[in-house]
Symmetry: C2
Subunit: 306 residues, 2 copies
């Protein structure tokens, strides 16, 4: 039976690229194996970027090939350009995610391209996908969709315009990312409702951060309006270095706990998920891991179907 | 103009009674003054219990009298029995809160009385109030309303039955407390809807804990179904000693940030609220304070009316 929501684990990509240390390839394998054992069915395993810019991701192709040995798991990679996309497609990924920033300032700082230039990148990657591997999915991840640390407010119209433009350029879906942890539940409901009204089944996932503690409240808000795919990062890996103790990505363990406690099935076994912190800890010694549920433990009488 | 929600600060009672150190009376005054300066209009300033059991609260009457010097602030105290209520009424509180546990096991462990015996205590305190200070409000705080660390599940019917019994015994309102951090948003909506259906305007506040990270999501869920009074504790004071880093009470700063970011007015100025951490820190040196918003800072472009 299909779970009610799909939890997409982004730790091996979003988490690892935010920490200074580089995890050994064999440790990444063990970690991914533990994530799969816990029941995760979609994992963003790396990004295809120049190794000199991001040595943590130099083994992305190898990690993709390892993840592909797990049947039933959708293997995702982030690609910022056609060159990365080609490498990812050759490695055999099931799905590409392309970051398209809704903030002009952030887009220039991040990829040295304007948002509209990134829409053209999406179009180029779609052509490449159609030629090399037509079965592969493409998601545009609209970053800074809820606010930007460089320019402040990001107009909602601009977020929707870009989301629509990416799907028009051939992306299968556009999802919304709270890159900067500035989203609030009212805004999340408003934007996802508009996204769904514009894109229907092409409306994508919610990628929330917990910078100001609102990560789960924002996921709840997105769930309320019909979002069914949520990104999380095991141990909240990917914390913002400017906010000690403030985890960046929503903690997968807490996200799964919230949904399962509500009776919303995730397909993920919480005890096994918490056990997956061990290979992560072993592969990144000294790196702080977050998570309230792992710290508090599961409540007395906790029962879970999976 | 009346704010959309009332934030009830419980730190000086719930927070202080959970830490080992005893804050000096003068430090409590400074802290309460800072809370008032931030715009908080309801503060639970202490509990009237025997000083040998809880030396942190030995100065409750003095603290009440100080808090009463601030016009427009509702001064609350917790009282577990008629003796405490009499002392609180004599000190001049505006409102009494009486803890009534929905878990039989927790009730016996906490106050050595069954839940139904506590309903009789409510009735006794109501009589006392009617005789001594008819204008004073009485709230029953139904604790372990969402689960219990001793007995596990707490039947929802029992929570509702007790809430109704307390109002029938003369309490002005019954609120629900997630004492153990076991609540989830679906349960919060279900229980508060039932509470409102049974009690109408006598349905009280939401007192949420953040033990497993769901504190704000649960407050959002309560807001969605019409709850308009929320307890919070500055700096999340009152953390569970068994879950390091896991704050107990919902952090007032994050709660105010969530609502204000949503456009729901609280009457509380966030910058001044964060400044109120200083007297708290000074009065309890070495005690860890929590809060994601204070750690991350306010977002670029943050504007607030108050």
């Amino acid at each position: 039976m299909k779970p009610d929501v799909l939890i997409s684990e982004v730790g091996p990509r979003d988490g690892l690229q935010s920490v200074k240390a580089t995890m050994a390839t064999a440790d990444k394998f063990r970690w991914i194996d533990a994530l799969v054992a816990a029941g995760l069915r979609e994992i963003e395993v790396g990004s295809f970027v120049p190794p000199r810019l991001m040595p943590q991701m130099a083994d992305a192709a190898e990690v993709v090939r390892h993840a592909l040995t797990h049947p039933g798991v959708t293997v995702l990679a982030l690609v910022p350009n056609a060159r990365g996309a080609e490498a990812a497609l050759k490695a055999g990924v099931h799905k590409l995610t392309i970051p398209v920033s809704a903030s002009h300032a952030h887009s220039l700082a991040n990829v040295r391209q304007t948002p509209d230039e990134m829409v053209e990148v999406v179009r180029e990657i779609v052509r490449l996908r159609d030629a090399l591997a037509p079965g592969v999915g493409i998601e545009a991840g609209i970053s800074t969709a809820f606010g930007c640390t460089l320019q402040g407010e990001v107009p909602e119209d601009e977020v929707i315009r870009l989301s629509v433009a990416c799907v028009a350029a051939g992306a299968d879906e556009s999802g919304l990312s709270d890159t900067t942890g500035m989203a609030n539940p009212a805004q999340v409901r408003r934007l996802f409702k508009r996204l769904q009204a514009e894109l229907g089944q092409h409306a994508g996932s919610a990628h929330m951060h917990n910078t100001r503690g609102l990560g789960l409240a924002n996921c709840l808000a997105a769930w309320d309006v019909g979002v069914r795919t949520f990104d999380g990062s095991l141990g909240g890996l990917g914390g913002c270095p400017h906010a000690p103790g403030a985890s960046g990505n929503v903690v997968t363990e807490d996200l799964v706990f919230m949904f399962e406690a509500m009776g919303v099935t995730t397909g993920v076994n919480l005890e096994k998920l918490m056990a997956a912190r061990e290979p992560l800890r072993a592969g990144l010694p000294g790196e702080p891991l977050y998570g309230m549920t792992p710290e508090a433990g599961l409540p007395l009488g906790w029962k879970q179907g999976v």
